[in-house]
């Protein structure tokens, strides 16, 4: 266990996971500054080149530097997923709290519609939307948001309904506080821990779905490539076990496993903040 201030402790595994996540976050921000080669430029005459001193992670199916492409890919994978998960959780949690506080018909109608949305398999929804409007960054972000808002809504609503039944909320209501005060000052602070954990889990789902869509050729479009697209365009190297197909996969796995591990090892004080 390692102390991280405020009287909280985190396990070594949790800390290591946080370091991996921070690493990919920094890479996503700094990518254009740290890439050794232009990621779109063909730098090697050989394709599916091995790992050498010049090309640390080998070269791809056209002879482009894999390290540069993976570093730039982090921007798309992390950026799109973060944008989508932030939007989805903001919408879902807000709607969930509003539904729990107001209740009645609004709650019922909203919950029924959102349940129906939930019963469309996520990959299928992505496929249908991309078929209809084509793939672009805004479309991807909005589609992923639409897919993961219902789950976030259900999660937040279930938590908020419990808090809503507590005495301090009743008191606030009797004081005549409005809806916005209630959800911001009374409900939200009491569900923020689990909501953050849910944010992380949903981030993992979105990274996986985005990679899956890109792998099907329906996500980020060339000449740009996220990690899923990098696997897809280099899949021809699979029979030789080329580094170009292995390392993007490793990048995805390292990010998603790290987020999952961090959530499992979050300090109790954060995870259980809803506990009275």
């Amino acid at each position: 266990m390692v102390r991280i201030g405020l009287g909280m402790r985190i396990s070594a595994l949790g800390l290591a996971s946080a370091v991996v996540i921070a690493f990919w976050g920094l890479v996503a921000i700094l990518a254009p500054l740290i890439v050794p080669y232009d990621p779109g430029k063909i730098v090697d005459y050989d394709y599916f080149g091995p790992m050498t001193e010049d090309f640390l992670l080998g070269t791809d199916y056209l002879g482009r530097d894999m390290l540069s492409r993976i570093l730039m890919g982090a921007r798309y994978t992390v950026g799109i997923s973060l944008a989508a998960v932030s939007l989805a959780c903001f919408l879902g949690v807000t709607l969930g709290m509003v539904a729990a506080v107001i209740g009645g018909l609004l709650d019922q109608v909203l919950s029924r519609v959102i349940d129906a949305f939930n019963s469309i398999p996520s990959k299928l929804f992505g496929l249908v939307v991309v078929a209809a409007v084509g793939s672009s960054l805004p479309v991807l972000v909005l589609t992923l948001t639409a897919i993961y808002t219902p789950g976030s809504y259900r999660f937040a609503r279930a938590l908020a309904v419990n808090i809503n039944a507590m005495d301090f909320v009743t008191v606030a209501r009797a004081r005549g506080e409005g809806l916005i005060y209630l959800i911001r000052e009374e409900i939200l602070p009491n569900i923020v821990g689990p909501v953050l954990a849910d944010f992380g889990l949903r981030f993992v789902f979105i990274v996986l779905l985005l990679s899956g869509l890109s792998f099907l050729g329906l996500g980020v479009q060339p000449p740009y490539a996220d990690w899923g697209a990098l696997v897809q365009e280099n899949i021809g190297g699979l029979p030789f076990g080329a580094p170009a197909v292995i390392f993007p996969s490793v990048a995805i796995a390292s990010l998603t496993i790290a987020v999952n591990m961090l959530i499992d090892n979050l300090p109790r004080r954060i995870r259980d903040r809803s506990a009275p």
């Binding site: 949305f117 469309i120 398999p121 249908v128 078929a131 099907l216 029979p239 996969s249």
Partner: protein
């Protein structure tokens, strides 16, 4: 009491029907009302306005969207799925054989995955905290944390590239013997089994452990029951409902997996058909495939709900 159960089950079915209606509306709305004019795609940019108008009338695209939706829904209900834009074949005949292939793949996977997952999940719960439990838990977290296509590529790397036991591609068309059938099925089935077993193992383990924390299990432990007896005799019968629910829910993950797996292994199923249809923007085919998947998904979730209702001892008469 049985009346109560029947009423709850009927209620669930009603909700599923309503959901199916909303879903069909969503599928229709997304594919029909968003930009991208089908007629212009079909005829190309150099088409004359007369030709565009003619084809539009022939395809009933000049009618209001609501009427087209009702017609389309009626067609779905009666089995008339419309005509593919691309090769002018009936969507129903295109899907027929493919659907059987996909069901076969799903069925064979379930046959392997369910016993495997239940066994591992129950054992992990039985020896909770042991090395075995930790290895199983770490493995399932890993499989859940990576995209399905990585499980598939890893399977290809291991079984086809290094061990050379199996062909990397599956060609379900020409099958001579049972051995050949197994070899062709093996890669997709192995991949899908991994993907859905991970979910199922976690859920099974969690529900058995939940039951182990109840007072009657603690009582059995205090009486001196062995760990194995405690799990098999005291906990398991009471966790069965939750486990059956978990199995049905996990099987619904098959749908997502199947889309990736059929594409990678070139397996001639509905999901591959749909991914190809997306590439050619063949909307009638996409709509029908999407409805088939949503229907299957909803059925599995409904079964999970009904099992949960039936397994609730408070509702048994």
């Amino acid at each position: 009491m049985n009346l109560l159960i029947a009423r709850m089950i009927l209620q669930r079915m009603g909700i599923v029907l309503l959901t199916l209606l909303i879903v069909s509306f969503a599928v229709f709305a997304v594919t029909e009302l968003l930009p991208g004019d089908v007629v212009e795609i079909l005829l190309g940019q150099s088409a004359t306005p007369e030709a565009v108008a003619g084809l539009r009338a022939a395809m009933h695209l000049d009618e209001p969207a609501v009427i087209r939706f009702v017609k389309w829904l009626g067609g779905l209900a009666t089995g008339d799925l419309g005509i593919s834009y691309v090769n002018k074949l009936g969507v129903a005949e295109l899907i027929e054989g493919r659907l059987f292939n996909t069901l076969k793949l799903g069925g064979v996977t379930a046959l392997f995955a369910v016993p495997l997952a239940l066994g591992l999940g129950i054992m992990a719960a039985m020896f909770q905290g042991s090395v075995f439990d930790r290895v199983v838990s770490a493995a399932t977290v890993t499989v859940i944390s990576v995209p399905e296509f990585m499980v598939a590529t890893a399977a290809v790397l291991i079984f086809a590239v290094y061990l050379k036991w199996l062909p990397a591609l599956s060609l379900a068309g020409d099958v001579g013997s049972i051995g050949e059938l197994l070899r062709n099925f093996a890669m997709p089935v192995i991949t899908l089994t991994f993907v859905i077993s991970a979910q199922m193992i976690r859920m099974t383990r969690a529900s058995v452990i939940d039951t182990l924390n109840t007072p009657y299990c603690e009582m059995a432990l205090l009486k001196g029951a062995s760990r194995v007896r405690l799990v098999l005799v005291h906990a398991l019968p009471n966790a069965l409902g939750a486990i059956a629910n978990a199995v049905a829910l996990s099987l619904s993950y098959l749908l997502g997996g199947v889309i990736i797996v059929e594409t990678i292994f070139n397996y001639p199923g509905v999901a591959k058909l749909m991914v190809d249809a997306v590439a050619t923007r063949d909307l009638p085919l996409i709509q029908s495939c999407a409805m088939i998947f949503c229907f299957g998904f909803l059925m599995l979730i409904m079964i999970a709900d009904i099992v949960a209702i039936l397994a609730n001892p408070r509702l048994r008469g």
